[in-house]
């Protein structure tokens, strides 16, 4: 077993250890054992930093890959298949190493931050335990080498997110939010699960490498539609987890959780897992699938941005911006800008975490005030927060010299290239939406910065009545009953909350990633993460000959250093000869589109910022008046495009109604049938019971008449009278006789 593998296993298990310790013993430990969590995460980070160093810095090889697996479930000698095992395994390549370092780092910082932020909460210990299990599952996703284990950890992050969103479960809003998050994710997951099943049912394995090898070898028996479906279904997992349209609704509500959790799970890591997963399965995505993905990403980016501009809750603005940025990443993957998307994933993780922690600091300082309308003028009181927050904002907005600029620009360039490569038309919608969202991003971030840090404090403007409303965060927090008078004494947060801000802000600057502030492609990241050649090309229509040349030469370079090249390079090369021309084309187009993208995006960003300035700094346009002017649009945005209402009206109400109907059906119809049968039996019994009373009478009358007796006697014949019985006896004998007699005659 490779030493890195052993290390990574340790890294994986350390947070679990922290969970186990804290969940059982936190009340017995001093300080509820928060130091355990921080210490363990520190160790984990140190180890993963070492892994990062070895993989990225020392062996500077894009094709680096070590893997290890073991048999988890052995299904024995399966008829028709032979020996069948379900394996679990770990793979470490550049992407893993980077994600490993990123996840552990942010998790560590959040742990540290939480020691200040969550201090005094009555479930303090449990909180750190939950952080532990989350980190464990997240690392699991990062390290998995097969679909099955990814699915497992996928669900586990869902669980930990469920637990952490509902950490203040006394609040109904929190309880609702956690349920909503879990269910929305479940919807995504069943899609993902079906996608996994499609691939498994063909190859009876979950392992990435084996599936890709089989696909490359053309062993996929079903039609291409199935393959596209598989890709899209797998992508559904990402839609749920990364809050893509139309399953984005849960993420904003997830802000009910503690702010550090929002930073860790709902900004930096878990939501990015979706993107990571799509990157992992990138090679099985057919062009059709990629188109859908690209459009979904674009729509998400745009929609979220439009919503973000009208939100007042500081965290909700950030939440929607997260959705928007995730949209960018998905868009990037969709258009084939593989490394750019992942690059944006990493950069976004850092500056968005920084923003969330900053907002946390603000909320903390403001004693759990979250509404930006009642903030303002904080820069004097909290310089550190102000500085870091602003830097992260610039990165998010994508101004030059920031990490965000490079990554976003790379994606947009890819979008343009994609559009041109696909021959323009409707495909230009994607870059257009991207650029427009960039502008909106700049606008709402500018708005936020202004509302929070500049101007005068507006705390006194706040209407007092919604102090204890549900929207009011942490209403059950132990230290919340001093809100009114505490509002004035705003002060900078303590060191253990400040340090993370600084570190994360530092990581949002360009030189961390690339020497050239204008081109991320020259940085180590883009070099280390390169687009793997698709394995589904052979399922496409054969390309025209002149493209073939490009494709082959392209794949020659990529075939060697692809993640697959380990054992199946021969296969992948041979067919990628006629497959990868599309990627190549896009790559070329993107290179061409690089500088146009820079210009356009910079202009867009400046537009956005200046617009924000016009509205909020120089007050040339009064936002409220504008809102009145375009009220429908304003409400549309404010109410998040009414998605919640729509879903509530359709799916949720729908299933409740159906369930009520079925349950009624169950108790009344199905059961009714059963009881009905029983009843009929009893009624037959009743009929039989009164057999003597009525039928016998009839026969009696008949027989008696046939023996020519008087009606007076007839009336007297009643059941319970032996003579009736005799008559009956004779009637039967006679009846039989007649019956057989006739049978004899005829």
């Amino acid at each position: 077993m490779h030493s890195l593998i052993q290390l990574s296993i340790v890294v994986l298990l350390l947070p679990l250890l922290s969970f186990v310790i804290l969940i059982f013993f936190n009340r017995r430990l001093p300080r509820r054992g928060d130091f355990v969590g921080v210490g363990i995460l520190g160790t984990a980070f140190a180890l993963s930093a070492y892994i990062f160093w070895t993989v990225i810095v020392q062996t500077y090889d894009p094709a680096f890959r070590v893997a290890w697996d073991f048999t988890w479930i052995d299904l024995g000698q399966v008829p028709g298949i032979g020996p069948l095992q379900i394996k679990m395994g770990i793979v470490i390549d550049n992407l893993t190493a980077i994600m490993l370092a990123m996840v552990t780092l942010i998790s560590l910082l959040v742990h540290l931050y939480s020691t200040g932020y969550m201090a005094g909460d009555k479930n303090y210990g449990r909180y750190f335990a939950f952080l532990g299990i989350f980190t464990f599952s997240m690392l699991g996703i990062v390290l998995s080498d097969n679909l099955f284990s990814i699915y497992i950890f996928w669900e586990l992050v869902g669980l930990s997110s469920y637990l952490l969103i509902g950490f203040f479960f006394e609040k109904d809003s929190a309880a609702d939010a956690q349920k909503k998050a879990f269910l929305a994710n479940r919807v995504g997951d069943i899609g993902m699960w079906l996608g996994i099943l499609i691939l498994y049912s063909q190859f009876h394995t979950f392992s990435f490498t084996e599936i890709y090898a089989n696909l490359a070898a053309g062993k996929f028996a079903l039609s291409n539609a199935w393959l596209t479906a598989a890709g899209l279904l797998l992508f559904m997992g990402c839609v749920g987890k990364s809050a893509q349209f139309p399953l984005h609704i849960w993420l904003p509500d997830a802000m009910e959780g503690p702010t550090p959790v929002s930073a860790l799970i709902h900004a930096a890591t878990m939501v990015a897992a979706g993107v990571y997963f799509v990157a992992r399965i990138f090679v099985v995505l057919t062009p059709d699938a990629l188109h859908v993905i690209a459009f979904i990403g674009a729509v998400t980016a745009f929609m979220a941005a439009t919503i973000a501009i009208t939100q007042n809750d500081i965290k909700r603005v950030l939440a929607y911006s997260t959705v928007s940025q995730l949209g960018y990443m998905v868009l990037g993957l969709g258009v084939g800008a593989y490394s750019a998307a992942l690059f944006h994933l990493v950069t976004h993780a850092f500056f968005k975490a920084c923003l969330f922690l900053g907002s946390g600091a603000i909320i903390h300082a403001m004693h759990h005030e979250q509404d930006m309308r009642w903030m303002g003028g904080l820069r004097k009181h909290m310089p550190w927060t102000f500085a870091t927050f602003t830097l992260a904002t610039l990165a998010l907005a994508g101004l030059p010299l920031t990490s965000g600029f490079m990554s976003k620009d790379a994606i947009l360039a890819g979008a343009i290239g994609f559009a041109t490569a696909e021959g323009g038309g409707v495909y230009y919608l994607i870059p257009v939406l991207g650029f427009f969202s960039a502008m909106l991003t700049a606008f709402y971030m500018g708005r936020q910065i202004w509302l929070v840090f500049f101007g005068e404090s507006r705390t006194h403007l706040k209407p007092v009545d919604n102090h204890h409303s549900d929207h009011h965060a942490h209403s059950t927090h132990d230290t919340h009953n001093d809100d009114h008078h505490a509002a004035h004494e705003v002060h900078e947060v303590s060191w253990n909350m400040r340090a993370p801000l600084v570190i994360l802000a530092a990581l949002s600057v360009f030189f961390v990633y690339s020497p050239n502030p204008l081109d991320g492609a020259q940085g180590w990241f883009m070099k280390m993460i390169q687009t793997p050649p698709t394995v589904v090309g052979s399922y496409q229509s054969a390309p025209s000959s002149e493209k073939l040349a490009v494709g082959s030469q392209q794949s020659a370079t990529e075939g060697e250093n692809s993640a697959l090249s380990t054992q199946h390079s021969a296969l992948s090369e041979q067919h990628s000869a006629l497959t990868n021309e599309r990627q190549a084309e896009i790559a070329h187009a993107s290179h061409a589109a690089h500088f146009p993208a820079i210009y356009i995006s910079s202009i867009m960003v400046l537009l956005g910022i200046s617009l924000a300035g016009i509205v909020y700094v120089f007050k040339i346009i009064d936002p409220d008046k504008t809102a009145q002017a375009i009220r429908p649009l304003y409400l549309f945005s404010l109410n998040k495009w009414y998605w919640d209402e729509i879903y509530d009206a359709t799916f949720i109400k729908g299933s409740i109604v159906i369930s009520k109907m079925l349950s009624w059906f169950d108790t009344n119809i199905i059961d009714g049938i059963v009881n009905g049968v029983a009843l009929t039996v009893k009624n037959i019994a009743f009929a039989n019971n009164s057999f003597d009373k009525y039928v016998v009478d009839g026969l009696v009358n008949f027989t008696a008449f046939s023996v020519n007796t008087t009606g007076a006697v007839l009336r007297k014949l009643q059941t319970g009278k032996v003579q009736t019985y005799v008559v009956m006896l004779l009637a039967v004998v006679f009846g039989y006789f007649v019956f057989y007699f006739t049978r004899l005659i005829y």
């Binding site: 009893k682 019994a685 039989n688 019971n689 057999f691 019985y725 006896l729 004998v733 006789f737 004899l744």
Partner: protein, 510 residues
């Protein structure tokens, strides 16, 4: 017109009579016991001690010995073919003597006799007389003998039914029984006369040969058969000849009810089997039309009617005795299933079912009597909460009822198993019959379970704590019956072999 027999002939007649007598010892012995009982009754006038009952028990027990000795004797005809001795007869001899014994036992347990009648007088004598009659029914091979024995049984039964002279229900039952029985036996005799007219024979074996040799007028034969069937049907209490049964069973003293529902029904079946197996010519597959009239279809109709009618009407009964009466009608239907198969396996199944029915029905009635002794009622409502007050009785009754339903691990289940197996050996021909049997037995579960339902699931309205313990001896007997019901449900080998032994009839050509 008839010339007198010569001396030599008379000699030979006497010789053969003497010969036959050796094979007739159990009957003779029982007749002696009958007279002895009357004498004893005269001696112990008025005094209500157990002298009579004990004597009866010992006497009947003694009979077993003679019957046992007959097992070693060769099967054959006695008294010029009037009477046969074969395994079939021996099986039923055991059966009837045992049921006589049980009848006496449960009579001893019934306290109603103290209140209703001054002296047991000829009661036990009549029980014995009935045993004799039934034994002869099972062994007679001649219509004349059949008639005689049947009337012997019937008359004793009439008197036993009306034994509670001052009890209107008892007397009413006796009257109904008398009239109905009289008419149906009368019809049967008329049918006999017609058969005699057709064949000039009264011996079953000769009848069958005569019928198959000389042929016959179908219409007359149909009429005759139907009339005969009326007589038999009345004995086995099968629909549509059942109308007397509910009233008589309800009105008669409970021990008599039990006795009738088991023993006299069994006697009827013995007769039915012998008549249909022997007298009906067996040409080719039995279930094809043999003599213009499809006997089996006739029996099928009767049995289906009995199963359905008995079970569904029982659903509405509130009186336990009446409920058991209807259940006995239903069981007649199940028993007929075994006869319909018309082969050795079917006979064996029927006999085994009779054994199981004997055990569980006597058991059920015994418990009913013990409960009636304490509560003085046989109504379903008055069974509420008895499960706690009389745990053993409750458990025993439940076991007997479960056995009547035919659930394992009870003897009743084995009976049903054999019957259905016999049906299915004919392939899918009789499957639908088996289905009806199954269905109706599911229905029967409902009304049988009404009794445990009342005993266990419901609380008794009156909570007075009087001693409900039926006493040591009854408890032992009850437990013994219960144990046997379960034991034979698990290890039925001996009884099944016994039934197999009993399933060979003299003169039956399979």
């Amino acid at each position: 017109m008839f010339e007198l027999p010569s001396g030599a002939e008379i000699q030979s007649i006497i010789a053969s009579l003497k010969l036959s007598v050796e094979f007739f010892i159990p009957e003779i012995y029982l007749s002696l016991l009958f007279m002895l009982l009357i004498v004893v009754d005269l001696v112990a006038k008025g005094k209500k001690n157990n002298l009579l009952s004990i004597t009866t028990l010992l006497g009947l027990a003694g009979t077993m010995y003679f019957i046992f000795r007959q097992q070693s004797m060769p099967a054959g005809e006695l008294f010029f073919g009037m009477y046969v001795l074969d395994e079939f007869a021996i099986f039923f001899k055991y059966f009837f003597v045992l049921s006589g014994i049980l009848a006496v036992i449960i009579t001893m347990a019934d306290e109603q006799f103290e209140s209703e009648v001054k002296s047991m007088g000829e009661y036990y004598a009549l029980v014995v007389a009935m045993v004799i009659g039934m034994i002869m029914m099972a062994s007679s091979a001649d219509m004349m003998m059949i008639f005689l024995s049947m009337e012997l049984v019937s008359f004793s039964a009439f008197i036993l039914t009306g034994y509670f002279k001052r009890n209107p229900r008892s007397s009413e039952a006796a009257l109904k029984y008398l009239v109905y029985g009289g008419v149906s036996s009368g019809l049967m005799v008329y049918g006999f006369s017609l058969i005699y007219g057709l064949t000039a024979e009264t011996n079953l074996i000769n009848i069958s040969s005569a019928l198959s040799q000389h042929g016959y007028d179908p219409v007359v034969l149909i009429l005759a058969t139907l009339l005969v069937l009326a007589g038999f049907g009345y004995k086995i209490g099968a629909v549509p000849f059942h109308f007397w049964a509910p009233d008589v069973y309800e009105g008669a003293p409970t021990p008599v009810t039990a006795y009738l529902s088991v023993a006299s029904k069994a006697a009827g079946f013995a007769l039915l089997m012998r008549f249909f197996y022997i007298a009906v010519p067996h040409g080719g597959p039995v279930y094809e039309d043999i003599i213009g009239i499809n006997w089996v279809s006739l029996l099928i109709i009767i049995s289906v009617a009995s199963m359905i009618y008995g079970n569904v009407v029982a659903l509405w009964q509130k009186n336990v005795k009446r409920l058991l009466a209807y259940s006995s009608i239903a069981h007649a239907g199940y028993l007929l299933l075994g006869i319909i198969v018309m082969d050795a396996f079917g006979t064996q199944a029927t006999l085994l079912y009779l054994l199981s029915y004997f055990l569980m029905n006597f058991g059920a009635f015994y418990v009913v009597i013990l409960i009636a002794n304490k509560t003085g009622s046989e109504n379903l409502e008055d069974y509420r909460g008895l499960g706690k007050k009389m745990p053993l009785a409750g458990a025993a009754l439940t076991v007997f009822l479960i056995s009547l339903v035919g659930l394992p691990p009870t003897f009743g289940f084995i009976g049903k198993l054999m019957i259905f197996s016999a049906l299915l050996t004919k392939g899918s021909l009789y499957l639908w019959l088996a289905l009806i049997g199954i269905m109706t037995s599911v229905i029967s579960l409902y009304y049988y379970m009404l009794i445990p339902l009342n005993m266990y699931l419901r609380e008794s309205p009156s909570s007075e704590q009087k001693n409900m313990n039926p006493g040591l001896l009854p408890n032992i007997i009850m437990a013994a019956l219960m144990f046997l019901t379960i034991y034979f449900g698990l290890f039925f080998q001996p009884l099944a072999d016994f039934a197999k032994y009993g399933s060979t009839l003299f003169g039956l050509k399979h």
